[in-house]
């Protein structure tokens, strides 16, 4: 189970990233944030976001048009 879950379904660029950034603030260090999104562009964007910010993209998957990301707060 992730420490927190962010439902960003139905939101378009750049809202999933902006909301994830905000949500991460409330995640403890080394804690995890689960993000659910329907924006197909969010896959590339969360990869880039994590590379730039130094947070870890632990896993991502897709099921029935819903993308699920698991971020570990490492920065």
């Amino acid at each position: 189970m992730a420490d927190q879950t962010l439902d960003a379904k139905g939101l378009n660029c750049p809202l999933p990233i902006l909301k994830a950034r905000k949500a991460l603030k409330d995640v403890p260090d080394s804690g995890t944030l689960e993000i659910l999104a329907t924006d197909p562009g969010s896959v590339a964007d969360f990869e880039a976001f994590c590379r730039q910010t130094g947070n870890e993209l632990v896993e991502h998957s897709e099921e029935d048009g819903v993308y699920r990301f698991l971020l570990k707060k490492t920065a």
């Binding site: 750049p14 880039a48 730039q52 920065a75």
Partner: protein
């Protein structure tokens, strides 16, 4: 939060509904990625700092603007763009479409930019030219001119003109 700190500046020169998006999307995203961001609002970009926004777009001279409609895409021939009320109608259509697609209103992105401590500079010359005062603007912008921007630009890794 950022691994290696880069910074970005954007000169914002256009204030129509469509042109307002790129600078605010990029500024808020860069800030979310840990970059210090400065936006310099000049000429028609300056009204994007006004308290009340009622952004419009123009159909005239905008041949690439095609709205999804009835399974296809429809543009507006230039001849029809002179019809009174057409810009208001197109703007309304665009806003409805954005709302349907989960695109944030500009007001929201602007608020997020302020929250993320994006530095907002209002061009003093444009303020004077179009007779605006800081009282007309949201809380947050500072006044500055070309030299203020150049100093920011020399210290930024990414400088955009939009």
């Amino acid at each position: 939060m950022s691994a290696e700190e880069k910074s970005m500046s954007i000169i914002v020169t256009k204030g129509s509904l469509d042109w307002a998006y790129p600078p605010f999307i990029l500024a808020t995203t860069a800030a979310a990625m840990g970059l210090p961001v400065t936006m310099f609002f000049t000429f028609y970009g300056l009204p994007l700092l006004l308290k009340d926004l009622n952004l419009q777009l123009t159909a005239a001279g905008n041949p690439a603007m095609k709205m999804p409609m009835m399974g296809g895409h429809m543009g507006l021939p230039n001849l029809l763009t002179a019809i009174p009320g057409i810009d208001a109608a197109c703007s309304k259509m665009m806003k409805n479409l954005m709302n349907k697609k989960g695109v944030a209103p500009i007001e929201d992105l602007r608020e997020l930019a302020v929250e993320a401590e994006v530095r907002l500079i209002a061009c003093q010359m444009t303020m004077d030219l179009f007779e605006y005062s800081l009282d007309d603007m949201i809380e947050g912008p500072e006044l500055g001119g070309a030299a203020t921007y150049i100093e920011v630009a020399t210290q930024s890794d990414i400088n955009l003109f939009i």
